[in-house]
Amino acid sequence: MSRLGPIVTLAAGAVLVAGLGVASVVSAPAAERTAAGVEETAQAQETQEARQEAPEEAQEEAQQEAQEPAETPTFEEPEEVVPEKADYAGRVKGNGGLIAISIRKGKAVGYFCDGRVETWFKGDASDPDLELTGLGKGKASVTAEIEDGKAAGQVRIGSKKWTFVAATAKKPSGLYRASAIVRGATLRAGWIVVRNPGGGYTQVGAASQDGEPVEIPQLDAGNPTEPVTVNGTTVTPEDVDGFIEEMQ
């Protein structure tokens, strides 16, 4: 038997991992790539200081992009109105998660998810400066400014905060939610679908049954309201028009 055989096998596995890694990094959009960089620095040192510094660095970069163009027009066009109906979805800088904000007739809902942590938000949308509060147990909020077809702002979860710029989302991009009562247990799932600049979609979601996280299936990106099975129960994901009433 060739003495090198087993080494070649292991090496082939390593090469395959490297190939998948490169392909995944390349096909993940720019925001996620910067996120990975920041994440590494943040996690190299587990101290809390380090954890707080890194998002702030990311935030400084983001402020130049997000807030510079945002501030001036607010003063010049004070009568800017919030659209009756709008959907925004985008990436949160520095943590690999997605955020979606939707506005319907003066009410706003938001959802942040990174596949592990998820938070729903809601608030008033009478003013272009949105302030949404988290619906979960922990302290969480979203502040965002609606302007030029974008929602740009900050999401805070616990003691951490990140910035984001969410562009107008056209279906199938956007926010989806499913809920059901299964033998007395409340099953909830949320998904955000975002179109990649290079084509295709990125989606992230989370589901829980009575507050316990459960595995979440991927939505069919072409047809996200197709029924899916969450923890053994078939549910139909609803778009914002379908669930906004329930949220109020």
Binding site: M1, R3, G5, P6, I7, T9, L10, A12, G13, L16, V17, L20, G21, A23, S24, S27, A28, E32, A35, E39, Q43, N95, G96, G97, L98, C113, D114, G115, R116, T202, Q203, V204, G205, E212, P213, V214, E215, P217, Q218, D220, T229, N231, G232
Partner: protein, 182 residues
């Protein structure tokens, strides 16, 4: 004679030290990576499936079937079957099984991370890390001349058991909870 035999045994076990340590490094390394790195919720995988989960479910099933081939061909190698299956069958079914698991594990660790919210996920996470540790140890042990006789059956058996456990906590769960979706 006994003394010499004894010495040989001892030396044999020592020769497993490096494979064991490297296997342990792989196992712990994967686990730590899966916990420390923020899951992306997204990873490149094998085309031709409707979504990431069906892809993983079927690749894992393929690997589990090849794992059965592994056990049968290994039994033949050790003369337990009375039939001689060519060595290449064992070697290549193993390689293929290992390569089939890579896109699956990559998605698990890169997109989802190591989690332990529910028992199934906890068992799956730990078995996954354990499997690659054991597999690494087996590959490295194969190259050693003087390993004890139990080495390959035991490590191979552990790899097989881990893979079956992984299949039960992923594909079998998916088939029963979701269905036979491609």
């Amino acid at each position: 004679m006994t003394a010499i035999h004894h010495r040989h045994e001892a030396r044999g076990s020592v020769s497993l030290l490096v494979p064991f340590l490297l296997g342990a490094v792989v196992m712990v390394g994967l686990g730590v990576y899966g916990r420390v790195h923020t899951p992306t919720g997204f990873a490149v995988g094998v085309a031709g499936f409707s979504a990431a989960l069906p892809m993983k479910v079927w690749l894992t099933t393929g690997a589990a079937v090849l794992a059965l081939v592994q056990v049968v061909s290994a039994l033949s190698m050790w003369g337990k079957l009375g039939v001689r299956i060519p060595d290449a069958v064992h070697r290549w079914s193993g390689r293929l099984a290992f390569l089939l698991t890579i896109p699956v594990a990559f998605h698990c660790l890169y997109a989802l991370g190591l989690q332990y919210d529910v028992p199934r996920v906890l068992i799956h996470s730990f078995l996954g890390c354990f499997f690659y540790g054991v597999f690494t140890m087996k590959m490295l042990a194969l190259r050693k001349e003087s390993t004890p006789g139990w080495t390959l059956p035991v490590i191979g058996g552990l790899a097989f058991t881990a893979l079956v456990g992984l299949w039960l906590t992923s594909s079998f769960w998916f088939f029963t909870a979701v269905g036979l979706k491609v």
